[in-house]
Amino acid sequence: MKITRRAGLGLALAMGLFGATQALAAEPLKVGFVYVGPIGDHGYSYQHEQGRLAVEKHFGDKVKTTYVENVPEGADAERVIRQLASSGHELIFTTSFGFMNPTAKVAKQFPKVKFEHATGYMRAPNLATYMARFYEGRYASGVAAGRLTKSNKLGYIASFPIPEVVRGANAFTLGARSVNPKAEVRVVWVNSWYDPGKEREAAEALMAQGVDVIAQHTDSAAPVQAAEEKGVWAIGQASDMSRFGAKSHLTAIIDDWSGYYIARVQAVLDGKWTSTDTWDGFDKDMVRLAPFNPSTPAAVRDEALGVERQIKEHKFHPFTGPIKDQSGKEVVAAGQIVPDSDLLKMNWFVEGVVGSIPK
């Protein structure tokens, strides 16, 4: 910014008169982040951390960010969030489902502080929510998987039986069967978000059944590594895992929070922040596909990218009927789209999934 002499004089005068207020306005905006895992997990928390770094880079010294990692979902979370709120942070992102109640509680006690909670459903005038439509990425990667499979058996390493995971497995299956009706998806539950050993063994179990494309809804790169060893395809989770499978890593579904975090910080700086409920996907680049493996047949890659574009431009929704459940009963009529409210509590598998949801 070019400051003319006169303006500079005025500025100096103003600063002399209103020194206190001026100093306050020049204070950087303090933004806090609470992560459930270690930032070194190379998965979910790592991607949120990338978002925080993007905020720092974008705003420079206009903001000051703080993060707390490895925060357990429970009583301790409340303490951490309150600590951030009471130490001058004006905008606080709590990034895991289990932080919902503590965030809501602290938000009530600090009405002037703005809170944003990921993947939850509790909102207040100073508490917004945000999440990503990961299932869009799963559908598009499913299209490529359906084309690439020779055995018509795809594998899905699932973590916990919650709607988010069920929705992902369904989207992957629908994507695969949209191009290959003979494809089936075998789901294995490992009951952990993160256990490299168990994830590897789940991948081995799937490959022993003849699966030749493996998708995962767990956070470590162990399944990709196991796939590389046996020469089958694997689809990474949360971040680009191609380093672990030069030949096997087909693509990955990447969470990208940078755009959202930058927009929300900007809104606070502009004084335009309001409590919103955000569920973005390909359209806002909150979900992206990692670059396809160079050895992917061009036709397969282009088809998957075409589907990505269609979803991105809202010309197509992955959960468009007709959709049948596992018993073969039509649950969604032709042309109908499953509403968000139903997607959020999805607890049934679509036709083509082999496996059951633990009760």
């Binding site: 070194g40 050993g197 022993a208 470590s220 790169a221 380093r243």
Partner: protein, 311 residues
């Protein structure tokens, strides 16, 4: 059975052995430590330090042999810290062990920061000539890496040491009654420190197996609670090495079977399976506690007790 089914069977058996191997190492090490009367709850921390040290060494370009040695050495280093506090300063062993676990989780994450996301060459498999060509059993049992074989060979070696050598007798005597052992003239602290160091080396190897062979990568907290399972296994095995091996194979096997059972349509609750090692341990504890002679026969009488030489 068809050929494909036989291949699946072999794959399942091989997976069970892989899953059990870190448990075997850690449990055997802890077993020796506890036989000397010391309870070291720091297995998880020592394993993680072993894992990160082994991975870092392999990543730096040193061979797998050096990497395994580094893993064991890191475990020993951690165990010496424990020995200093719990034996040297006579601090409470339970508290020190817990602290060691928590410390190991944090320290390994800290020193391993730059290693996250970097791949290394996995520890190669060493198929045993002839034996590995037997159908089913060959690929299941005789086509593993050197650490798997070592973990199995460690069982007779440790049994022999504990029950057939003079040094083993002294170690058990120290665990049974440290005052008596001291009065006869044995160096209680020296024996215990060596036992703790052995436990550390074995836990370090368990970690090295994880980061070099099982999932050749380094990520924070990659042991995912295996140290605690190994700890439970020692009690489950009533401090007998061969039972520790069987227990490890049982729990490793159940984990793997549960993944395959889902495909066969057998509904097995993963939560119940996760509880199983601890549940079995409680059952064994109750069973051996009912009978005083059984306790005397099995549990080291001075386990966890502080030794004061001046008394």
């Amino acid at each position: 059975m068809s050929e494909a089914e036989l291949a699946t069977l072999a794959a399942i058996l091989a997976a069970m052995i892989r899953a059990a191997t870190p448990l075997v190492f850690a449990a055997l090490g802890e077993l020796v430590t506890e036989r000397a009367g010391v309870l070291n709850l720091g297995l998880e921390g020592m394993m993680l330090m072993g894992a990160v040290a082994a991975f870092g060494t392999a990543h730096a370009g040193a061979g797998h042999g050096a990497a395994m040695a580094a893993g064991a050495a890191a475990g020993v280093g951690m165990s010496l810290l424990f020995a200093f506090l719990a034996l040297g300063l006579r601090a409470n062993q339970v508290a020190c062990g817990l602290a060691l676990s928590i410390f190991g989780v944090g320290l390994s994450a800290f020193v391993g920061k730059s290693l996250v996301g970097t791949p290394i060459a996995a520890l190669p498999a060493l198929p045993i000539p002839l034996l590995s060509e037997i159908p089913v059993l060959g690929p299941a049992l005789f086509s593993h890496d050197i650490l798997v074989y070592a973990s199995i060979l460690a069982v007779p070696a440790i049994s022999w040491f504990l029950f057939r050598t003079r040094a083993g007798l002294v170690l058990r005597a120290v665990g049974e009654n440290h005052d008596a052992a001291h009065d006869i003239g044995y160096g209680v602290l020296k024996v215990r420190t060596l036992a703790v160091m052995f436990g550390g080396a074995m836990a370090g190897l368990a970690g090295a197996y994880l980061s070099l062979a099982y999932t050749p990568m380094w990520v924070e907290n990659m042991s995912s609670g295996r140290g605690w399972i190994a700890l439970a296994l020692v009690v489950f095995a009533t401090w007998v090495p061969v039972r520790a091996l069987m227990g490890a194979y049982l729990f490793g096997g159940v984990t793997i079977l549960q993944l395959h059972a889902q495909n066969w349509g057998v509904p097995v609750s993963a939560q119940i399976l996760a509880m199983l090692p601890y549940l079995a341990t409680i059952v064994v504890l109750v069973l051996i506690s009912r009978d005083e002679t059984k306790i005397k026969l099995n549990a080291p009488a001075c386990l966890g007790k502080v030794f004061h030489s001046g008394r």
